[in-house]
């Protein structure tokens, strides 16, 4: 599961220079596929086969893992032959500029802070940090406004889930205040 983490960072070079014939970052994806497929097959081989079940728990992962490895190999061949990925466009996407992986890294960092803090700081605080941190990473410099908006969003969503849906999000350090 950790392999997709690495692939985007290696993708920078072919994006910045639009001319190259080969999209070498795709080799990273191909390698990830081979690793994932091989691990799936290995993992399946450790399973015990049950009784009275002609297929058993192994067959499906064997097939999926093997095909994934084959797809990785095919992607390698296609890449070396000059196959270039067509990156996805969108409403706010401008593909003419080089990719800004630093912003992505900041956002992932902010998200990881939320992952680590949500259990003890509580959703109302962690959620607000997430909003403010993400807005700041994306280039907003209206810090005071962002903090107010973030707190309103996180506190109101806490109450909405608590009162409206009966889902108790953790209150964390604000336990008793909310």
């Amino acid at each position: 599961m950790s392999t997709p983490l690495d692939t985007p960072t290696t993708a920078e070079s072919p994006r910045t220079s639009p001319g190259p014939d080969r999209d070498l970052a795709q080799l990273g994806l191909a390698a990830a596929l081979v690793v994932i497929g091989a691990y799936t097959v290995y993992d399946a081989s450790t399973l015990r086969v049950g009784f009275g079940d002609p297929v058993g728990p192994r067959v499906f992962p064997y097939v999926i893992g093997t095909v994934t490895v084959v797809l990785g190999v095919l992607l390698t061949i296609a890449t070396l032959r000059g196959d270039v990925a067509e990156a996805e466009g969108g409403e706010d996407v401008d593909l003419r500029q080089p990719a800004d992986w630093l912003t992505v890294l900041k956002l992932v960092g902010v998200l990881m802070v939320t992952v680590l803090t949500v259990s003890f700081l509580g959703w109302a605080i962690s959620g607000a940090i997430l909003f403010v941190g993400a807005a700041w990473s994306l280039g907003s410099r209206t810090l005071v406004r962002d903090v107010i908006v973030g707190l309103v969003l996180s506190v109101s969503s806490w109450y909405f889930f608590h009162e409206g849906l009966g889902v108790i999000l953790p209150a964390g350090i604000l336990d008793g205040v909310l």
């Binding site: 599961m1 950790s2 997709p4 692939t7 795709q26 994932i36 497929g37 799936t40 993992d43 399973l47 015990r48 086969v49 079940d53 002609p54 297929v55 728990p57 067959v59 499906f60 992962p61 999926i64 095909v67 797809l71 095919l74 992607l75 296609a78 990925a85 067509e86 990156a87 466009g89 969108g90 409403e91 706010d92 996407v93 500029q97 990719a99 800004d100 992986w101 912003t103 956002l107 992932v108 902010v110 998200l111 990881m112 992952v115 949500v118 997430l130 909003f131 993400a134 807005a135 994306l138 280039g139 907003s140 908006v149 973030g150 969003l153 889930f161 889902v167 108790i168 999000l169 953790p170």
Partner: protein, 514 residues
Amino acid sequence: MDNLTLLADGFGAVLTPENLLFCAIGVLLGTFVGVLPGIGPAMAVALLLPVTFGMDPVPAFIMFAGIYYGGMYGGSTTSILLNTPGESASVMTALEGNLMARAGRAAQALATAAIGSFIAGTIGTMLVVFFAPALASVAVQIGAPTYFALMVLAMIMVTSVLGGSPLRGFIALFLGLTIGLVGLDLNTGQPRLSFDQPLLADRIDVVVVAVGIFALGEALWVAAHLRRSPLHVIPVGRPWMDRTDLRRSWGPWLRGTAYGFPFGALPAGGAEIPTFLSYLTEKRIAKRKGVDEFGKGAIEGVAGPEAANNASAAGTFVPLLALGLPVTATSAVMLAALQGYGIEPGPGLMTDQPELVWALLASLLVGNALLLVLNLPLAPVWAKLLRIPRPQLYAGILFFAALGAYAANLQAFDLFLLVLLGLLGLAMRRFGLPVLPLILGVILGPLMEFRLREAMAISGGDVAGLWSEPLAVVVYVVVAIAVTAPFVFRRVRPAPSAVLEEPGTPAQDQEKVR
């Protein structure tokens, strides 16, 4: 008509003041989220899933119906006013719709889209009312081998026929199948691909996968390529149409519906082909009449594809309800939502829980009607949403994505998975991997394994058991045709995907010029 009586019962369950309020909230939320740039209908539904946590099935369904149609209409609003379709199904709408908007006829474009969506959605849902039960009664009799074959068909169709690059489609599909493997094995109870993590042995929640791949992946991808120069948003007044517009629209609405529904109802799925066909037909008819405004903002070019899009969306409920097969990203998320209520779509659903099915179908009709009532007057408000500053907009998407993934199980670990899946979604967009096959793999993979083992257990381990039913053989023949046809066509004429993309290119070119 028996179906109509049952539908009337469904209306009886749905039409309470409280449910209507839920439906109105759903329409408003769905449109709100759908209008936001960068959010397509599938993402809107995935993001709003947690809003219905803890609700009873019927009010939850009716809210969903509102969210579903609201999200779709919101998507067309964005493509008309910004000329940047968020998903492939609204590419055709954007072509003429944006030209109309730039010619000062944004109000008429939005009106014909809204009314066309309403008409197509209503006719489409009524067709579901008649077709789905009939199909389900056939489906009850088919066994595991045919089911397995149908799932193979759905995967092959979505992966190799609809997408541009079969290799990339299959990569996405098998990544999805791998994610679907994670967790306890159905029969022996052993954890697979779980790295000794008890939380992974519980399987990865489909909501987390959908939100991670659609919402977080998209937000991260946009963050990497954020447009620094803001797009030009066209101001819009209250939508209205005069008699000429109406006379020019009703033909395209009905023809678009006729194109859209069958494509949605077949496991071939997708709204790309019917919207494209509708666009071509309207253009040809306009030329024959000698009033060809195509290229200058023809209302027919908005009315037809928009109707086709919505009729196809309604059509996807036929395979979804009768067979449990989702064929679009949005219906895949809807399936996940239904499963969240312990409802397993499939042939049994119609007979086991008929009141839920009819309530859902009635909800779709009510949601569609409310959409029209609410959105015609509110269009100028929605258009203002397009001006939200991008940092705050995407920070908000991140916030709600995290909230949705977290609220499902209240596990911080789910948020960690969300980040990983978001990075996978980012990588997929970078490498041009389609998202739909992956989601389909995650949802259908476990079902497919279940059917495979059931079929093999019945036949006592004999592989021939997989084609022991005549219907299964028929489906495999269709699969074979679907796989070989593109190669044959490619020799005769250019690849279908190339033909499909052709009309999309002018829009992209214009975008580059600006």
